[in-house]
Amino acid sequence: MDDITRRTLNALESQRLPLTRRQLLRLAGEGALAVGGLAAVVAAAPAPASAQAGGTLRINMATDIQQLDPHLVTAWNDYCPWECIFSSLTALDRDFQPIPDLATSWTQPDPKTYVFTLRKGVLFHHGREMKAEDVKFSYERVQSLGGKSKWYTLLLDLDKVEVLDDYRVKVSLKQPSAPFLANIAFAMIVAKENVEKIGVEPVGTGPFRFVERVPNSHFTVRRWEKFYVSGQPKVDEIRWVPVVEPATRVANLKTGTADIISEVPFESLRDLRATPGITIHEPKASSAYAVILIKHAPPLDNKKLRQALAMLVDREALHRTVFFGVGTTEQGCNPFPAGHWAHDTVNCPKYDPDAAKKLLAEAGHPNGIELEWKVIGTRPDTVKVAEVCKETFRKGGVNVKLTQLEFATWIQQVYRDKQFQLGQTIFLREADPDGLVVSALFTGGQNNPGGYSTKDMDTLLNQGRGELNRDKRKGIYKRIAEIVADDVPFIRIQPQPFLWASTGKAGSFYINSQSRPFVALREVTLAR
């Protein structure tokens, strides 16, 4: 779209002339719009009555997109490009169960082998057909990226991929893997010839094709006309706009400047629930957990010191203040939340400054200790968690020095350079219990910037993934939860659900239990 068209569109948008906007968009999309023609279209008759499909869906999210490569995403908001542009052998439905997507069916000749049959006639956005060779290439790319890829830990069990013919792939595993089918939903299929440019001009097989990304302004994808599910996607275009300020996102939704917003601030829930026409989307189960990261290096390599910290987290105080009563503090330390099949009660440390003081002395810090805590300045919730903890830690003799960083700097310092002592972050929920813990506890895992690494834990995690009997698996995960409560690799605070909200215009929108729209974006419609 040329500049003049865009400016005109913006002007139209601000004047609320929706009837001509869609026409304009379609024409502009086909590149048929000359400047001279513009006036004619604007002056033309109202749009046809069929107002079911089409339109631009405007989504406001909390932070800007950092990474377009689906194999290198780390931030939650970076999921949005790939859930539009890419697709994978399986997809996850609303309840996080794997369903066929690029693979139409699969067989399991033995517990360690899957044979996937691929959908025929699937086209990449640059026109080439997706074939078995692309699956092999994509999986091997994730493997070769190692710890740099978030999904590396999800493909840990993968041994090798063989191409049987153009539409059949044989995947061999190192050991039987219960979560494998759900895990590969995140291993997006990429085109080999696009890999060089995937960070700037990604090409995939997903429902939308990449249009443009302007940092700190917007990220736009447009309907892929040759998407393999007929009739999908239903909207013409999705425009993701980063709006850092939570109150601004809420205001945008209420005034109709946005159709959907992510990360609804807890403090405005009461207000939004009382606003007619607005739907709050809450994940069925706790979707994410507020977690305090701990760097496992002196002095925090001392277990007693970590246990002391765990006793200084006042979950009730945090629940009332930071989370505005959303979620629960029950079993706060347990990585498998209540309601999950792998959940079993464990002994969580109670808030007890006196006991913590004693432990601190035993750990060799009778006069207290000073620790640095890095927070994301643009995410007030992480700042508030740290502020409350600073106050409760003080009661146990731990003096916290807070450092506020901008989001990208925080990711760089904490996740890439691993330069921190304490830090507040959020872990996402995956469907399988393995997905809940593996990346945070496995040696070198993507969510393990603290460098937690024990042989016991690695062994247990491997056993848990390899065990196909659910009761036996539950026993293994109980053991893992007990170690987490006792050894304190990190401190889980409480669920911190990512809430979305939409206006009545964005029909049939929903989020899955990971608080992502995922396949919902293919089905969402836009009323006018």
Binding site: A247, P265, S268, A317, R320, T321, G377, P380, E387, Q404
Partner: protein, 295 residues
């Protein structure tokens, strides 16, 4: 003007006269009183504030102003009055120290440029012009990005922003003063350059600098509030009016007192300092002095 008597002004008499002129103006007296009040509150914060500024009371989160919390509480249940009182410390300290830095660097530079003149003058003033060309807040953000966010660095950054103002004012005054008869008289008596610049010329540029200082503190408080609002100034949980405003804003609908009172604090203190600055300017104004003498 320019009479040899100005060489050694009677410090006592002059201060008294300025103070009298200052108090005669109602707005200036108001500004002075409020500034003093603010300074006292900041100085005796532990005695004035009912609570520690970072003391959380989770049960009392977001309470409206009541007897227990005169200005209400924030989302973590901290007393807003206490945070504003401690915030005054931050604001005045940043304002004072930053302007101190600006004056300590700017005045000697201006004096040097103005007195020596020639190529050195050109060089120094072009650097000052370059600094002045940046919008203040943008320069501060850039400096903070380089120095890293902390209160100390905020003071340095704000100090650097106001260096050119002091340099320019000093230079302008030096340029006109160095040709005056009393300066020539001092030279004729055999005084060296350093003596003339520092002991003869500089004391005579003090009045505009004092005015600029009081106005500068007000501006520095605003810049600090803006930096803290952006998360670049005071680090949490230390209170700053700017950061309180930033966090309070998202709760404006439910807890208007959270953002309102820090905002009022910024407004009132900046207003007071501006009144004071204007009053000082009038008090130093030679035309008014002449009028006084005529009485």
């Amino acid at each position: 003007m320019g009479r040899p008597a100005e060489l050694a002004p009677d410090a006592h008499g002059r201060l008294g006269r300025v103070l009298r002129a200052l108090l005669r103006s109602r707005t200036a007296a108001f500004g002075l009183g409020l500034t003093l009040l603010l300074a006292l509150a900041a100085l005796f914060a532990p005695l004035v504030a009912p609570y520690r500024p970072d003391e959380i009371h989770p049960i009392d989160s977001l309470l409206p102003p009541t007897g227990r919390y005169p200005l209400g509480t924030d989302d973590l249940g901290r007393d807003i009055l206490s945070r504003i009182v401690y915030g005054a410390r931050v604001s005045l300290m940043v304002g004072g120290i930053a302007i101190g830095i600006a004056a300590a660097v700017g005045v000697p530079l201006g004096l040097l440029a103005g007195y020596v003149g020639g190529r050195l003058d050109g060089l120094v003033m072009r650097v000052m012009d370059a600094l002045l060309a940046f919008p203040a807040i943008l320069l501060a953000i850039a400096l903070m990005a380089v120095l890293g966010p902390s209160l100390q660095n905020a003071m340095i950054a704000i100090g650097i922003i106001y260096v050119p103002t002091f340099a320019r004012i000093t230079r302008a005054n030096v340029l006109s003063l160095r040709e005056k008869e009393f300066v020539e008289a001092a030279r004729a008596l055999g005084a060296g350059s350093l003596y003339v610049a520092v002991l003869v010329i500089l004391p005579n540029c003090l009045s505009p600098l004092i005015v600029q200082g009081s106005l500068g503190v007000a501006n520095a408080i605003l810049v600090e509030a803006a930096l803290s609002f952006l998360g670049l100034g005071v680090q949490p949980p230390d209170p700053s009016w700017g950061s309180m405003l930033a966090y309070g804003r998202s709760l404006l609908g439910q807890a208007p007192w959270y953002a309102t009172f820090p905002g009022l604090a910024i407004f009132v203190s900046v207003l007071a300092l501006n009144f004071l600055g204007d009053g000082l300017r009038e008090a130093f104004d030679p035309r008014l002095r002449a009028a006084e003498r005529a009485n």
